[in-house]
Symmetry: C2
Amino acid sequence: MNNQKVGILGGGQLGRMMIEAASRLNLSVTILDSPTDSPAKQIESTQQHIQGAFNDPAKIRELASQVDVLTVEIEHVDADVLAELETSSKIRVCPSAFTVKTIQDKYNQKQYLESFGIPVSAYVDTPDVESVKRAGEQFGYPFMLKSKTMAYDGKGNYVVDSPQKVEAAVAALSKTPLYAEKWAPFVKELAVMVVRRANGEVRSYPVVETIHKNSICHLVIAPAQIDGAVAKKAQSIAENAIKAFTGAGIFGVEMFVMENGEILLNEIAPRPHNSGHYTIEACDTSQYENHMRAILDMSLGSTAMKVPASIMVNILGSDSDMQACYKPCQEALTVEGATIHLYGKKECRAGRKMGHITLVGESMMQVQRNLAPILQAIEPDIQRSLTLRPLVGMIMGSDSDLPVMKVGAQILKDFGIPFELSIVSAHRTPLRMVEYAKSAAERGLMAIIAGAGGAAHLPGMVAAMTPLPVIGVPVKGSSLDGVDSLYSIVQMPRGIPVATVAVNNSTNAALLAIRILGASIPGIQKQMAAYMEKMEGEVLTKVEKLDHVVSEGTF
Amino acid sequence: MNNQKVGILGGGQLGRMMIEAASRLNLSVTILDSPTDSPAKQIESTQQHIQGAFNDPAKIRELASQVDVLTVEIEHVDADVLAELETSSKIRVCPSAFTVKTIQDKYNQKQYLESFGIPVSAYVDTPDVESVKRAGEQFGYPFMLKSKTMAYDGKGNYVVDSPQKVEAAVAALSKTPLYAEKWAPFVKELAVMVVRRANGEVRSYPVVETIHKNSICHLVIAPAQIDGAVAKKAQSIAENAIKAFTGAGIFGVEMFVMENGEILLNEIAPRPHNSGHYTIEACDTSQYENHMRAILDMSLGSTAMKVPASIMVNILGSDSDMQACYKPCQEALTVEGATIHLYGKKECRAGRKMGHITLVGESMMQVQRNLAPILQAIEPDIQRSLTLRPLVGMIMGSDSDLPVMKVGAQILKDFGIPFELSIVSAHRTPLRMVEYAKSAAERGLMAIIAGAGGAAHLPGMVAAMTPLPVIGVPVKGSSLDGVDSLYSIVQMPRGIPVATVAVNNSTNAALLAIRILGASIPGIQKQMAAYMEKMEGEVLTKVEKLDHVVSEGTF
């Protein structure tokens, strides 16, 4: 497919998954890493790989002499050697030495991002103990003291919760230069993978939620179960951040969402990232394949999800033995939609990333259910409750409609369908109605139920401003016995349909919404079929009872 | 995950894709094949692989001495050696030597399947020229003369179209024993992958359609765009066939569908199969991973598709050069949902399988559209029109409803939604209605539009027998101005919803069905949004016209 030879600095799991993608495209890739049997080398035998440290200048130069493109699976490399090679040789370095150098120093990274208008939390340089104390006065306590370099998986971070802790913090992180960061009381952590070609073209993957445990990535939830507008903002910040750098390749962008919806960029990884592992099973093109395409200046692949929902869980090593890692994997073997990735690491250490499991499914409800037994094997003492984005919106013109509508809401609840319930009045809050209808599809809703009475305009007006199916419930008013509501809802002009149900019958509106979801979600269609069977059974029981009464003559 | 060591006879592309799956589970796999750089060996460097022919008894014994489980990626192996190893050593052979031996002789295979009641086309042994002539008299012309052994990709098959061709046919296939088979004028070729554990547990993948070109697999369409009842029958025949054998592993079952819906089993491959490549991107667990799980007696993975639609296209070698193979791949780089698999074969020969491309997508319409430019690069002179299974069913109580309903049908057509149109009367054809409603979901429909007038029972009765969303169109009769139809359709009892639209408004019924599809198919939702924008634009143009008329005073 492409005759350029690629060299990778580092042969860990990220290199391994790059190799998986590269082999399928028959690309030539040579790996520089110390172990002869590093995870990446285990699955690549067409090249003579180089044995040595990925930050050894001589070895990097040796690798560079054999390839056309040099890339990294870790940012803690000797960026000066990369810069030297960029100018002295014909090879391309991806991403650029400048990008690697800027990002590997987190203080520089923040300064650089800020200069491009990317929102980051407040920070200050702290060359000595005194300046750390001043940071405490400026930011208040707690604040974060951070190593500028060589930081990963929470290593190099220290929470300073009082002036008395300053000296201990500085001592603990004494090996590297430090800076202080204002505490960011985030409500969720988000991440976006962005792939960039050398010409500046970027494509971003969906926004995911990341859940950390002991500062190490634990779960990645795709798509993030958040408001669509927040997701859009996060994606745009991530894209703009990566546009600010130079060179080609994939980047992981980690962000915080604050309570008020504000988004702060936390940090960037100039390489494939743990929060993008899910893309192998869940997206059209994996982060690894898009990285290879980007560094070889080939067309980028689609970054869209090909399944409705996915969750990735990391398999970390324990101090005991390998068997502890295998327990959740054994569990995953019996779980629908679970794919196990083990990295071939021979030695197991506490906290070491040994593998990951990606679940995909027809809905986030299903994926969360399927995740439960795997999480149970990893953390038997923890009960996690993960959020679900609503799939059905139920709105009504007035709180006086609630007694009618709540019966339908209960049905949605019984079926386990995540939904939202609100008052939106066509006549009293027309602008709110416009905003609700216009944003509904982007927010992830798949159907809207609208109840209204009298001159019942809500369902039809919402339907006029969304491409989603809208179900109308005519609510009976004090006059005309509901006929006014029914006609107002059902007699829509050609072009804008409202799926109208019987007067006051919010039960049927909910069941119709569930049937609509079931049209593409087999598990929900099965639930509906079971519901119908149960209903039939209940009526047949009544038949028997009546037969009994009749035959006993007590009728 | 599993400490048993696996040995594979053969290191071609099927072995390569087995290795991909095995590496992710950290399984130990050793390959026996002649080239030192065979496709499978290229991506496995943790073992000392064996160099030699996969049918060399000494080499097979050498491999067997190093492993716990022996499996094959090709059935043309020395089954007697496998049988000997099964009894003399502790290793397990997967599938069993008996199964390989029975299947590798296609005449034996047919006899064996027939003895288990599996439908196959008529066949007869033809040990000499005379018996071939008698076969011609028995079956009529044309009939197939087939090699019993060593047949693949159409090699070993000869179409005998007249008595005069008998001797040429026998001469052409003189290297192997022969049998004759009655001509099967099939309408489609289907295939099902079935995975079997040693205890007899089987799981089958969805039924796919295969399209061959020069007797070599060209396209695989998943799921097959056929009637759900036929698919169910095919799946059951495939499962029963594999239950009849012994041993563990994955099997490819190829079948013919005749014009009358009859299904004949054509042949079985006791290994991963070209018709199952699509499972890597399109199913919860790939055929390769399930093969590894089966032979190691691990839990089988889900065989369900995780995407709505997929098509695989083979990349065959040409006599010219490698660049010809890369042309469709270059095209695929720019196609959404396309994944390229190249097998690392150094030599390119006409008809040699060099790789494949799998497309996945949100709908079969999308996948067919996306396939077009890739097919164009492979066969610029051929226009293929692939079938689409209907997604919407449109039915009406009487042909007198057609003038009203056909307006909606036109909308579906304009949007490119595959649909079916028929008359189903609740009162005059109640049993047909029951069958239609009961089979609708299984047949692949996602929504039903039912039009009826007067005592309009059709929509509600259909809704009572399907979990699908049913849209009701009240058709105005000669009295009561449509109110009778409207009330009969909309006033459904709690439990069974009908999505009712305005009287005679089949346009809105069609648009509602499209919105329902769009709830899970982003491309269709985009089409709907564009339709609504166009409608708005048209009205605004009328506004301008009227403004003009008013300002000119010609009003």
